[in-house]
Symmetry: C2
Subunit: 304 residues, 2 copies
Protein backbone atom coordinates (compact mmCIF):
# COMPACT_ATOMS: atom_id res chain seq x y z
CA UNK A 1 0.00 0.00 0.00
CA UNK A 2 2.64 2.50 1.07
CA UNK A 3 4.91 3.97 -1.57
CA UNK A 4 8.23 3.84 0.27
CA UNK A 5 10.26 7.01 0.27
CA UNK A 6 13.92 7.38 1.23
CA UNK A 7 13.33 10.84 2.67
CA UNK A 8 14.97 10.80 6.15
CA UNK A 9 11.80 12.05 7.86
CA UNK A 10 9.61 9.40 6.24
CA UNK A 11 12.18 6.73 7.14
CA UNK A 12 12.02 7.88 10.74
CA UNK A 13 8.23 7.83 10.66
CA UNK A 14 8.29 4.28 9.24
CA UNK A 15 10.72 3.11 11.93
CA UNK A 16 8.48 4.52 14.65
CA UNK A 17 5.48 2.82 13.01
CA UNK A 18 7.37 -0.45 13.09
CA UNK A 19 8.07 -0.04 16.84
CA UNK A 20 4.38 0.75 17.40
CA UNK A 21 3.39 -2.35 15.43
CA UNK A 22 5.65 -4.58 17.56
CA UNK A 23 4.49 -3.10 20.87
CA UNK A 24 0.85 -3.21 19.87
CA UNK A 25 1.13 -6.84 18.72
CA UNK A 26 2.68 -7.74 22.10
CA UNK A 27 -0.13 -5.96 23.97
CA UNK A 28 -2.67 -7.95 21.95
CA UNK A 29 -0.82 -11.26 22.14
CA UNK A 30 -3.04 -12.72 24.81
CA UNK A 31 -0.17 -13.24 27.24
CA UNK A 32 -0.29 -9.78 28.84
CA UNK A 33 -2.12 -9.33 32.16
CA UNK A 34 -4.66 -7.00 30.56
CA UNK A 35 -5.99 -9.45 27.95
CA UNK A 36 -4.92 -12.95 29.09
CA UNK A 37 -7.89 -15.32 28.76
CA UNK A 38 -9.78 -13.18 26.27
CA UNK A 39 -11.81 -15.05 23.62
CA UNK A 40 -9.80 -15.68 20.44
CA UNK A 41 -12.39 -14.19 18.10
CA UNK A 42 -12.43 -10.95 20.07
CA UNK A 43 -8.62 -10.68 20.10
CA UNK A 44 -8.61 -11.40 16.36
CA UNK A 45 -11.08 -8.60 15.73
CA UNK A 46 -9.03 -6.24 17.92
CA UNK A 47 -5.91 -7.15 15.93
CA UNK A 48 -7.71 -6.78 12.60
CA UNK A 49 -8.76 -3.28 13.59
CA UNK A 50 -5.41 -2.13 14.95
CA UNK A 51 -2.44 -4.01 13.48
CA UNK A 52 -0.75 -3.60 10.09
CA UNK A 53 -2.14 -0.25 9.23
CA UNK A 54 -1.81 3.48 9.08
CA UNK A 55 1.04 5.92 9.37
CA UNK A 56 0.95 5.71 13.18
CA UNK A 57 1.25 9.47 13.32
CA UNK A 58 -0.03 9.77 16.90
CA UNK A 59 2.47 7.30 18.44
CA UNK A 60 5.23 9.01 16.44
CA UNK A 61 4.26 12.37 17.95
CA UNK A 62 4.25 10.93 21.47
CA UNK A 63 7.74 9.52 20.91
CA UNK A 64 9.15 12.68 19.35
CA UNK A 65 7.60 14.95 21.94
CA UNK A 66 9.04 12.73 24.71
CA UNK A 67 12.44 12.73 23.01
CA UNK A 68 12.46 16.54 22.97
CA UNK A 69 12.47 16.41 26.78
CA UNK A 70 15.09 13.67 27.07
CA UNK A 71 12.81 10.64 27.48
CA UNK A 72 13.55 7.36 25.75
CA UNK A 73 11.13 6.08 23.05
CA UNK A 74 10.77 2.94 25.21
CA UNK A 75 9.35 5.06 28.06
CA UNK A 76 6.90 6.64 25.64
CA UNK A 77 5.80 3.31 24.13
CA UNK A 78 2.94 2.45 26.51
CA UNK A 79 1.37 5.87 25.97
CA UNK A 80 2.02 5.72 22.23
CA UNK A 81 0.26 2.39 21.79
CA UNK A 82 -2.54 3.33 24.20
CA UNK A 83 -3.27 6.33 22.03
CA UNK A 84 -3.17 4.17 18.91
CA UNK A 85 -5.64 1.72 20.53
CA UNK A 86 -8.01 4.65 21.03
CA UNK A 87 -7.51 5.94 17.50
CA UNK A 88 -8.17 2.45 16.09
CA UNK A 89 -11.24 1.82 18.26
CA UNK A 90 -12.67 5.12 17.01
CA UNK A 91 -12.18 4.00 13.40
CA UNK A 92 -13.88 0.65 14.11
CA UNK A 93 -16.91 2.36 15.64
CA UNK A 94 -16.97 5.15 13.00
CA UNK A 95 -17.11 2.53 10.26
CA UNK A 96 -20.20 0.81 11.73
CA UNK A 97 -23.43 0.75 9.70
CA UNK A 98 -25.12 3.06 12.22
CA UNK A 99 -22.28 5.58 11.82
CA UNK A 100 -20.36 6.12 8.54
CA UNK A 101 -21.19 2.63 7.19
CA UNK A 102 -17.84 1.99 5.51
CA UNK A 103 -16.81 -1.39 4.09
CA UNK A 104 -13.19 -0.51 3.41
CA UNK A 105 -10.43 0.83 5.67
CA UNK A 106 -6.76 0.95 4.73
CA UNK A 107 -7.60 -1.16 1.68
CA UNK A 108 -9.06 -4.02 3.76
CA UNK A 109 -12.57 -4.95 4.95
CA UNK A 110 -13.64 -2.99 8.02
CA UNK A 111 -14.00 -4.98 11.26
CA UNK A 112 -17.78 -5.34 11.02
CA UNK A 113 -17.34 -6.66 7.45
CA UNK A 114 -14.52 -9.08 8.32
CA UNK A 115 -16.35 -10.25 11.49
CA UNK A 116 -19.81 -8.93 12.30
CA UNK A 117 -21.37 -5.79 13.71
CA UNK A 118 -21.62 -6.98 17.32
CA UNK A 119 -18.01 -8.16 17.33
CA UNK A 120 -16.90 -4.81 15.89
CA UNK A 121 -18.69 -2.93 18.67
CA UNK A 122 -17.04 -5.16 21.28
CA UNK A 123 -13.59 -5.02 19.68
CA UNK A 124 -13.79 -1.23 19.78
CA UNK A 125 -14.94 -1.26 23.41
CA UNK A 126 -12.10 -3.62 24.33
CA UNK A 127 -9.40 -1.53 22.60
CA UNK A 128 -10.64 1.59 24.38
CA UNK A 129 -10.65 -0.23 27.72
CA UNK A 130 -7.18 -1.65 27.10
CA UNK A 131 -5.71 1.78 26.41
CA UNK A 132 -6.11 3.04 29.96
CA UNK A 133 -4.66 -0.14 31.45
CA UNK A 134 -1.58 0.22 29.26
CA UNK A 135 -0.85 3.70 30.61
CA UNK A 136 -1.60 2.65 34.20
CA UNK A 137 0.83 -0.27 34.08
CA UNK A 138 3.77 1.68 32.58
CA UNK A 139 5.77 0.83 35.72
CA UNK A 140 9.21 2.32 36.05
CA UNK A 141 9.05 4.14 32.74
CA UNK A 142 6.72 6.96 33.82
CA UNK A 143 6.39 8.48 37.30
CA UNK A 144 3.00 7.59 38.94
CA UNK A 145 1.78 11.19 39.15
CA UNK A 146 2.55 11.71 35.47
CA UNK A 147 0.75 8.47 34.55
CA UNK A 148 -2.35 9.70 36.36
CA UNK A 149 -2.11 13.10 34.63
CA UNK A 150 -1.90 11.31 31.27
CA UNK A 151 -4.92 9.11 32.03
CA UNK A 152 -6.99 12.07 33.16
CA UNK A 153 -6.14 14.15 30.10
CA UNK A 154 -6.60 11.18 27.74
CA UNK A 155 -10.03 10.59 29.26
CA UNK A 156 -11.00 14.17 28.49
CA UNK A 157 -9.49 14.34 25.00
CA UNK A 158 -10.85 10.96 23.89
CA UNK A 159 -14.26 11.39 25.54
CA UNK A 160 -17.43 13.47 25.41
CA UNK A 161 -15.49 16.75 25.49
CA UNK A 162 -13.03 15.56 22.83
CA UNK A 163 -13.04 12.90 20.14
CA UNK A 164 -16.40 11.24 20.95
CA UNK A 165 -18.03 14.66 21.29
CA UNK A 166 -16.63 15.65 17.90
CA UNK A 167 -18.07 12.51 16.39
CA UNK A 168 -21.48 13.41 17.87
CA UNK A 169 -21.23 16.88 16.28
CA UNK A 170 -20.23 15.26 12.99
CA UNK A 171 -23.39 13.12 13.11
CA UNK A 172 -25.47 16.23 13.69
CA UNK A 173 -23.83 17.76 10.59
CA UNK A 174 -25.62 15.17 8.46
CA UNK A 175 -28.98 16.77 9.15
CA UNK A 176 -28.04 20.44 9.59
CA UNK A 177 -25.72 22.87 7.83
CA UNK A 178 -22.73 23.89 9.93
CA UNK A 179 -20.98 27.20 9.41
CA UNK A 180 -17.17 27.48 9.27
CA UNK A 181 -16.86 28.04 13.04
CA UNK A 182 -19.01 25.00 13.81
CA UNK A 183 -17.04 22.84 11.36
CA UNK A 184 -13.80 24.01 12.98
CA UNK A 185 -15.13 23.19 16.47
CA UNK A 186 -16.30 19.75 15.38
CA UNK A 187 -12.96 18.93 13.78
CA UNK A 188 -10.90 20.31 16.66
CA UNK A 189 -12.72 17.79 18.86
CA UNK A 190 -13.02 14.85 16.47
CA UNK A 191 -9.49 14.85 15.06
CA UNK A 192 -7.62 17.61 16.85
CA UNK A 193 -8.07 16.44 20.43
CA UNK A 194 -6.09 13.18 20.07
CA UNK A 195 -3.34 14.80 17.98
CA UNK A 196 -2.96 17.61 20.51
CA UNK A 197 -2.86 14.99 23.26
CA UNK A 198 -0.13 13.09 21.39
CA UNK A 199 2.11 16.14 21.29
CA UNK A 200 1.39 17.12 24.90
CA UNK A 201 1.73 13.54 26.19
CA UNK A 202 5.46 13.36 25.52
CA UNK A 203 5.96 16.51 27.58
CA UNK A 204 3.83 15.14 30.44
CA UNK A 205 5.45 11.71 30.58
CA UNK A 206 8.91 13.28 30.54
CA UNK A 207 7.92 15.68 33.31
CA UNK A 208 8.49 18.84 31.23
CA UNK A 209 7.87 22.32 32.70
CA UNK A 210 4.32 23.75 32.32
CA UNK A 211 5.41 26.35 29.75
CA UNK A 212 7.07 23.74 27.53
CA UNK A 213 4.02 21.50 27.95
CA UNK A 214 1.74 24.33 26.80
CA UNK A 215 3.95 24.93 23.74
CA UNK A 216 3.72 21.26 22.74
CA UNK A 217 -0.02 21.37 23.25
CA UNK A 218 -0.31 24.39 20.96
CA UNK A 219 1.93 22.69 18.41
CA UNK A 220 -0.37 19.64 18.54
CA UNK A 221 -3.47 21.79 18.04
CA UNK A 222 -1.91 23.42 14.97
CA UNK A 223 -0.92 19.99 13.67
CA UNK A 224 -4.48 18.74 14.18
CA UNK A 225 -5.88 21.64 12.15
CA UNK A 226 -3.36 21.02 9.36
CA UNK A 227 -4.02 17.28 9.44
CA UNK A 228 -7.76 17.74 8.97
CA UNK A 229 -7.42 20.38 6.25
CA UNK A 230 -4.97 18.16 4.33
CA UNK A 231 -7.31 15.18 4.80
CA UNK A 232 -10.31 17.10 3.49
CA UNK A 233 -8.25 18.44 0.59
CA UNK A 234 -7.22 14.89 -0.31
CA UNK A 235 -10.82 13.78 -0.06
CA UNK A 236 -11.71 16.45 -2.63
CA UNK A 237 -8.83 15.82 -5.01
CA UNK A 238 -7.58 12.22 -4.69
CA UNK A 239 -9.09 8.90 -5.76
CA UNK A 240 -9.91 5.78 -3.73
CA UNK A 241 -6.96 3.74 -5.04
CA UNK A 242 -4.50 6.30 -3.67
CA UNK A 243 -6.29 6.70 -0.32
CA UNK A 244 -7.12 3.03 0.35
CA UNK A 245 -10.62 4.17 1.32
CA UNK A 246 -13.60 5.72 -0.41
CA UNK A 247 -12.83 9.21 -1.74
CA UNK A 248 -15.23 12.12 -2.13
CA UNK A 249 -17.49 10.58 0.50
CA UNK A 250 -17.89 13.76 2.54
CA UNK A 251 -19.25 15.63 -0.46
CA UNK A 252 -21.47 12.68 -1.38
CA UNK A 253 -23.03 12.79 2.11
CA UNK A 254 -23.54 16.52 1.89
CA UNK A 255 -21.04 17.08 4.70
CA UNK A 256 -19.32 20.41 4.34
CA UNK A 257 -15.59 20.68 4.92
CA UNK A 258 -13.54 23.85 5.16
CA UNK A 259 -11.87 23.20 1.77
CA UNK A 260 -15.34 22.69 0.24
CA UNK A 261 -16.57 25.90 1.87
CA UNK A 262 -13.53 28.12 1.27
CA UNK A 263 -11.93 26.64 -1.83
CA UNK A 264 -8.67 24.87 -2.63
CA UNK A 265 -6.54 28.03 -2.92
CA UNK A 266 -7.63 29.20 0.54
CA UNK A 267 -6.85 25.74 1.92
CA UNK A 268 -3.31 25.62 0.52
CA UNK A 269 -2.66 29.11 1.85
CA UNK A 270 -4.03 28.15 5.29
CA UNK A 271 -1.79 25.05 5.36
CA UNK A 272 1.25 27.27 4.65
CA UNK A 273 0.19 29.60 7.44
CA UNK A 274 -0.27 26.73 9.92
CA UNK A 275 3.16 25.27 9.13
CA UNK A 276 4.65 28.71 9.80
CA UNK A 277 2.80 28.92 13.10
CA UNK A 278 4.02 25.45 14.12
CA UNK A 279 7.59 26.53 13.37
CA UNK A 280 7.17 29.67 15.48
CA UNK A 281 5.84 27.65 18.44
CA UNK A 282 8.80 25.26 18.18
CA UNK A 283 11.42 28.04 17.78
CA UNK A 284 12.43 28.10 21.49
CA UNK A 285 13.46 24.42 21.26
CA UNK A 286 16.02 25.09 18.49
CA UNK A 287 17.53 22.27 16.48
CA UNK A 288 16.25 19.51 18.74
CA UNK A 289 12.72 20.13 17.44
CA UNK A 290 13.76 19.58 13.80
CA UNK A 291 11.76 16.35 13.49
CA UNK A 292 8.60 17.93 14.89
CA UNK A 293 9.02 20.78 12.39
CA UNK A 294 9.28 18.27 9.57
CA UNK A 295 6.21 16.48 10.95
CA UNK A 296 4.19 19.66 10.49
CA UNK A 297 5.31 19.97 6.84
CA UNK A 298 4.64 16.27 6.27
CA UNK A 299 1.14 16.44 7.73
CA UNK A 300 0.24 19.62 5.82
CA UNK A 301 1.67 18.70 2.42
CA UNK A 302 1.23 14.90 2.26
CA UNK A 303 -0.38 13.39 -0.84
CA UNK A 304 -2.01 10.36 0.86
CA UNK B 1 -40.81 1.13 40.09
CA UNK B 2 -39.10 0.06 43.32
CA UNK B 3 -41.26 -1.37 46.06
CA UNK B 4 -39.71 0.38 49.05
CA UNK B 5 -38.82 -1.83 51.98
CA UNK B 6 -38.03 -0.68 55.53
CA UNK B 7 -35.54 -3.51 55.99
CA UNK B 8 -32.36 -1.84 57.36
CA UNK B 9 -30.16 -3.39 54.67
CA UNK B 10 -32.41 -2.24 51.84
CA UNK B 11 -32.55 1.22 53.39
CA UNK B 12 -28.77 1.32 53.45
CA UNK B 13 -28.62 0.15 49.82
CA UNK B 14 -31.08 2.89 48.82
CA UNK B 15 -29.07 5.54 50.65
CA UNK B 16 -25.91 4.44 48.83
CA UNK B 17 -27.83 4.51 45.54
CA UNK B 18 -28.90 8.05 46.30
CA UNK B 19 -25.26 9.09 46.91
CA UNK B 20 -24.26 7.42 43.64
CA UNK B 21 -27.03 9.25 41.81
CA UNK B 22 -25.85 12.61 43.14
CA UNK B 23 -22.19 11.99 42.37
CA UNK B 24 -22.95 10.62 38.91
CA UNK B 25 -25.19 13.59 38.09
CA UNK B 26 -22.37 15.95 39.13
CA UNK B 27 -19.86 14.07 36.95
CA UNK B 28 -22.24 14.42 33.98
CA UNK B 29 -23.23 18.02 34.68
CA UNK B 30 -21.01 19.49 32.00
CA UNK B 31 -19.04 21.60 34.44
CA UNK B 32 -16.43 18.98 35.35
CA UNK B 33 -13.04 19.05 33.59
CA UNK B 34 -13.68 15.67 31.99
CA UNK B 35 -16.84 16.61 30.09
CA UNK B 36 -16.91 20.44 29.94
CA UNK B 37 -17.77 21.53 26.40
CA UNK B 38 -19.37 18.22 25.38
CA UNK B 39 -22.35 18.45 22.99
CA UNK B 40 -25.68 18.63 24.84
CA UNK B 41 -27.27 15.74 22.98
CA UNK B 42 -24.38 13.45 23.87
CA UNK B 43 -24.50 14.43 27.55
CA UNK B 44 -28.28 13.89 27.52
CA UNK B 45 -27.84 10.40 26.09
CA UNK B 46 -25.14 9.61 28.68
CA UNK B 47 -27.49 10.78 31.44
CA UNK B 48 -30.43 8.83 30.00
CA UNK B 49 -28.33 5.68 30.08
CA UNK B 50 -26.90 6.14 33.55
CA UNK B 51 -29.07 8.29 35.83
CA UNK B 52 -32.22 7.38 37.71
CA UNK B 53 -31.91 3.66 37.48
CA UNK B 54 -30.90 0.38 39.00
CA UNK B 55 -30.03 -0.83 42.47
CA UNK B 56 -26.47 0.55 42.13
CA UNK B 57 -25.17 -2.68 43.61
CA UNK B 58 -21.61 -2.20 42.33
CA UNK B 59 -21.10 1.28 43.84
CA UNK B 60 -22.60 -0.02 47.09
CA UNK B 61 -20.06 -2.87 47.17
CA UNK B 62 -17.17 -0.45 46.54
CA UNK B 63 -18.36 1.74 49.43
CA UNK B 64 -18.93 -1.16 51.84
CA UNK B 65 -15.66 -2.85 50.98
CA UNK B 66 -13.82 0.46 51.51
CA UNK B 67 -15.65 1.01 54.80
CA UNK B 68 -14.49 -2.42 56.02
CA UNK B 69 -10.92 -1.08 55.82
CA UNK B 70 -11.66 2.25 57.42
CA UNK B 71 -12.09 4.38 54.30
CA UNK B 72 -14.81 7.01 54.03
CA UNK B 73 -17.62 6.54 51.47
CA UNK B 74 -16.54 9.92 50.03
CA UNK B 75 -13.10 8.48 49.23
CA UNK B 76 -14.74 5.53 47.50
CA UNK B 77 -17.16 7.69 45.49
CA UNK B 78 -14.99 8.33 42.39
CA UNK B 79 -14.33 4.59 42.00
CA UNK B 80 -17.96 3.74 42.74
CA UNK B 81 -19.33 6.04 40.04
CA UNK B 82 -16.58 5.08 37.57
CA UNK B 83 -17.66 1.48 37.93
CA UNK B 84 -21.30 2.45 37.48
CA UNK B 85 -20.38 4.38 34.29
CA UNK B 86 -18.84 1.19 32.95
CA UNK B 87 -21.81 -0.94 33.98
CA UNK B 88 -24.21 1.53 32.33
CA UNK B 89 -22.18 1.83 29.11
CA UNK B 90 -22.23 -1.97 28.85
CA UNK B 91 -26.03 -1.96 29.14
CA UNK B 92 -26.32 0.74 26.43
CA UNK B 93 -24.15 -1.27 24.03
CA UNK B 94 -25.77 -4.62 24.97
CA UNK B 95 -29.18 -3.18 24.15
CA UNK B 96 -28.15 -2.13 20.60
CA UNK B 97 -29.91 -3.75 17.61
CA UNK B 98 -26.68 -5.57 16.64
CA UNK B 99 -26.45 -7.04 20.15
CA UNK B 100 -29.51 -7.96 22.28
CA UNK B 101 -31.82 -5.52 20.46
CA UNK B 102 -33.81 -4.44 23.49
CA UNK B 103 -36.27 -1.54 23.47
CA UNK B 104 -36.85 -1.41 27.21
CA UNK B 105 -34.46 -1.00 30.13
CA UNK B 106 -35.52 -0.26 33.71
CA UNK B 107 -39.01 0.37 32.39
CA UNK B 108 -37.86 3.14 30.00
CA UNK B 109 -36.83 3.25 26.33
CA UNK B 110 -33.23 2.14 25.79
CA UNK B 111 -30.78 4.83 24.67
CA UNK B 112 -30.90 3.89 20.98
CA UNK B 113 -34.71 4.09 21.15
CA UNK B 114 -34.81 7.40 23.02
CA UNK B 115 -32.08 8.87 20.77
CA UNK B 116 -30.67 6.86 17.86
CA UNK B 117 -28.25 4.01 17.31
CA UNK B 118 -25.20 6.14 16.53
CA UNK B 119 -25.78 8.34 19.58
CA UNK B 120 -26.16 5.23 21.75
CA UNK B 121 -22.83 3.86 20.53
CA UNK B 122 -21.14 7.21 21.27
CA UNK B 123 -22.83 7.66 24.66
CA UNK B 124 -21.52 4.22 25.67
CA UNK B 125 -18.04 5.04 24.40
CA UNK B 126 -18.07 8.34 26.29
CA UNK B 127 -19.21 6.78 29.60
CA UNK B 128 -16.48 4.15 29.33
CA UNK B 129 -13.88 6.83 28.59
CA UNK B 130 -15.12 8.99 31.44
CA UNK B 131 -14.79 6.17 33.97
CA UNK B 132 -11.00 6.03 33.83
CA UNK B 133 -10.68 9.79 34.12
CA UNK B 134 -12.83 9.76 37.26
CA UNK B 135 -10.50 7.30 38.99
CA UNK B 136 -7.38 9.15 37.79
CA UNK B 137 -8.56 12.49 39.18
CA UNK B 138 -9.54 11.18 42.65
CA UNK B 139 -6.95 13.57 44.11
CA UNK B 140 -6.38 13.42 47.81
CA UNK B 141 -8.93 10.69 48.43
CA UNK B 142 -6.89 7.77 47.07
CA UNK B 143 -3.11 7.42 47.06
CA UNK B 144 -1.61 7.67 43.49
CA UNK B 145 -0.21 4.11 43.47
CA UNK B 146 -3.59 2.73 44.53
CA UNK B 147 -5.37 4.77 41.86
CA UNK B 148 -3.07 3.28 39.22
CA UNK B 149 -3.67 -0.23 40.59
CA UNK B 150 -7.43 0.37 40.38
CA UNK B 151 -7.22 1.63 36.79
CA UNK B 152 -5.08 -1.31 35.70
CA UNK B 153 -7.39 -3.87 37.30
CA UNK B 154 -10.52 -2.11 36.04
CA UNK B 155 -9.07 -2.17 32.52
CA UNK B 156 -8.60 -5.93 32.77
CA UNK B 157 -11.97 -6.72 34.42
CA UNK B 158 -13.99 -4.46 32.12
CA UNK B 159 -12.10 -5.40 28.94
CA UNK B 160 -11.38 -8.30 26.61
CA UNK B 161 -10.38 -10.61 29.48
CA UNK B 162 -13.42 -9.63 31.54
CA UNK B 163 -16.79 -8.08 30.82
CA UNK B 164 -16.36 -7.39 27.08
CA UNK B 165 -14.87 -10.86 26.60
CA UNK B 166 -17.85 -12.39 28.40
CA UNK B 167 -20.18 -10.49 26.10
CA UNK B 168 -18.29 -11.90 23.09
CA UNK B 169 -18.72 -15.44 24.49
CA UNK B 170 -22.41 -14.71 25.07
CA UNK B 171 -22.77 -13.73 21.40
CA UNK B 172 -21.12 -16.99 20.38
CA UNK B 173 -23.67 -18.84 22.55
CA UNK B 174 -26.41 -17.73 20.16
CA UNK B 175 -25.06 -20.00 17.45
CA UNK B 176 -23.53 -22.86 19.46
CA UNK B 177 -24.58 -24.87 22.51
CA UNK B 178 -22.44 -24.18 25.58
CA UNK B 179 -22.00 -26.78 28.30
CA UNK B 180 -22.27 -25.88 32.00
CA UNK B 181 -18.54 -25.09 32.32
CA UNK B 182 -18.63 -22.79 29.28
CA UNK B 183 -21.74 -21.01 30.57
CA UNK B 184 -20.04 -20.54 33.94
CA UNK B 185 -16.91 -19.10 32.27
CA UNK B 186 -18.97 -16.74 30.12
CA UNK B 187 -20.94 -15.47 33.10
CA UNK B 188 -17.88 -15.14 35.35
CA UNK B 189 -16.50 -12.76 32.73
CA UNK B 190 -19.67 -11.00 31.61
CA UNK B 191 -21.21 -10.32 35.03
CA UNK B 192 -18.75 -11.63 37.60
CA UNK B 193 -15.70 -9.59 36.64
CA UNK B 194 -17.18 -6.18 37.51
CA UNK B 195 -18.81 -7.41 40.73
CA UNK B 196 -15.55 -9.01 41.86
CA UNK B 197 -13.78 -5.76 40.99
CA UNK B 198 -16.31 -3.79 43.06
CA UNK B 199 -15.58 -5.86 46.17
CA UNK B 200 -11.82 -5.81 45.63
CA UNK B 201 -11.75 -2.10 44.76
CA UNK B 202 -12.66 -0.98 48.27
CA UNK B 203 -9.74 -3.00 49.64
CA UNK B 204 -7.35 -1.52 47.06
CA UNK B 205 -8.38 2.09 47.52
CA UNK B 206 -8.14 1.76 51.30
CA UNK B 207 -4.68 0.19 50.98
CA UNK B 208 -5.71 -3.13 52.63
CA UNK B 209 -3.18 -5.97 53.07
CA UNK B 210 -2.87 -8.48 50.18
CA UNK B 211 -4.55 -11.28 52.14
CA UNK B 212 -7.58 -9.12 52.98
CA UNK B 213 -7.69 -7.93 49.40
CA UNK B 214 -7.77 -11.55 48.17
CA UNK B 215 -10.61 -12.36 50.58
CA UNK B 216 -12.69 -9.47 49.26
CA UNK B 217 -11.94 -10.56 45.71
CA UNK B 218 -13.15 -14.08 46.49
CA UNK B 219 -16.23 -12.68 48.20
CA UNK B 220 -16.93 -10.64 45.05
CA UNK B 221 -16.55 -13.68 42.82
CA UNK B 222 -19.04 -15.63 44.93
CA UNK B 223 -21.40 -12.68 44.86
CA UNK B 224 -21.10 -12.52 41.06
CA UNK B 225 -22.03 -16.18 40.75
CA UNK B 226 -25.02 -15.71 43.06
CA UNK B 227 -26.08 -12.55 41.25
CA UNK B 228 -26.15 -14.28 37.87
CA UNK B 229 -27.93 -17.40 39.16
CA UNK B 230 -30.57 -15.27 40.85
CA UNK B 231 -30.93 -13.18 37.68
CA UNK B 232 -31.40 -16.26 35.50
CA UNK B 233 -33.83 -17.73 38.02
CA UNK B 234 -35.87 -14.51 37.92
CA UNK B 235 -35.78 -14.58 34.12
CA UNK B 236 -37.31 -18.07 34.27
CA UNK B 237 -39.93 -17.36 36.90
CA UNK B 238 -40.86 -13.64 36.92
CA UNK B 239 -42.79 -11.46 34.49
CA UNK B 240 -41.82 -8.26 32.67
CA UNK B 241 -43.90 -5.97 34.88
CA UNK B 242 -41.94 -7.04 37.95
CA UNK B 243 -38.54 -6.90 36.23
CA UNK B 244 -39.00 -3.67 34.27
CA UNK B 245 -37.55 -5.44 31.25
CA UNK B 246 -38.51 -8.31 28.98
CA UNK B 247 -38.72 -11.65 30.86
CA UNK B 248 -38.03 -15.12 29.50
CA UNK B 249 -35.88 -13.60 26.78
CA UNK B 250 -32.92 -15.92 27.29
CA UNK B 251 -35.10 -18.98 26.71
CA UNK B 252 -36.77 -17.30 23.73
CA UNK B 253 -33.33 -16.81 22.12
CA UNK B 254 -32.31 -20.39 22.83
CA UNK B 255 -29.65 -19.20 25.27
CA UNK B 256 -29.04 -21.77 27.97
CA UNK B 257 -28.61 -20.65 31.55
CA UNK B 258 -27.50 -22.77 34.50
CA UNK B 259 -31.02 -22.74 36.03
CA UNK B 260 -32.41 -23.87 32.64
CA UNK B 261 -29.77 -26.60 32.42
CA UNK B 262 -29.82 -27.82 36.03
CA UNK B 263 -33.32 -26.98 37.21
CA UNK B 264 -34.84 -24.63 39.76
CA UNK B 265 -34.26 -26.88 42.81
CA UNK B 266 -30.53 -27.17 41.98
CA UNK B 267 -30.36 -23.40 41.57
CA UNK B 268 -31.95 -22.63 44.94
CA UNK B 269 -29.62 -25.12 46.61
CA UNK B 270 -26.59 -23.59 44.86
CA UNK B 271 -27.63 -20.11 45.99
CA UNK B 272 -27.79 -21.37 49.62
CA UNK B 273 -24.35 -22.89 49.24
CA UNK B 274 -22.88 -19.68 47.78
CA UNK B 275 -24.29 -17.56 50.60
CA UNK B 276 -22.66 -19.96 53.07
CA UNK B 277 -19.35 -19.67 51.23
CA UNK B 278 -19.56 -15.86 51.25
CA UNK B 279 -20.14 -15.94 55.01
CA UNK B 280 -17.12 -18.20 55.50
CA UNK B 281 -14.88 -15.87 53.47
CA UNK B 282 -16.05 -12.90 55.53
CA UNK B 283 -15.72 -14.68 58.90
CA UNK B 284 -12.24 -13.24 59.71
CA UNK B 285 -13.68 -9.71 59.53
CA UNK B 286 -16.22 -10.36 62.30
CA UNK B 287 -19.12 -8.01 62.96
CA UNK B 288 -17.76 -5.22 60.75
CA UNK B 289 -18.60 -7.31 57.66
CA UNK B 290 -22.29 -7.65 58.64
CA UNK B 291 -23.49 -5.48 55.73
CA UNK B 292 -21.46 -7.44 53.18
CA UNK B 293 -22.96 -10.67 54.59
CA UNK B 294 -26.43 -9.24 54.17
CA UNK B 295 -25.51 -8.14 50.65
CA UNK B 296 -24.83 -11.79 49.74
CA UNK B 297 -28.25 -12.86 51.06
CA UNK B 298 -29.92 -9.94 49.30
CA UNK B 299 -28.27 -10.74 45.97
CA UNK B 300 -29.03 -14.46 46.21
CA UNK B 301 -32.62 -14.27 47.41
CA UNK B 302 -33.94 -11.04 45.80
CA UNK B 303 -37.23 -11.21 43.93
CA UNK B 304 -36.48 -8.46 41.37
Amino acid sequence: MDRLSDDPFETRLREAASRTETALAAALSGTSFLVAGAPDVLLSAMRHGSLDGGKRLRPFLVEESARLFGADPAAAAPVAIALECIHCYSLIHDDLPAMDDDDLRRGRPTVHKAFDEATAILAGDALLTLAFGLVAEADGAIEPGNRLALIRLLSREAGAAGMVGGQALDLAAETMVLDAAEIARMQAMKTGALIAFAAEAGAILAGAAPEARRALRRYGEILGLAFQLADDLLDETADAATLGKAAGKDAARGKKTLPALNGIAWTRNELDRLVGEAEAVLAPFGASAATLREAARFVAFRDR
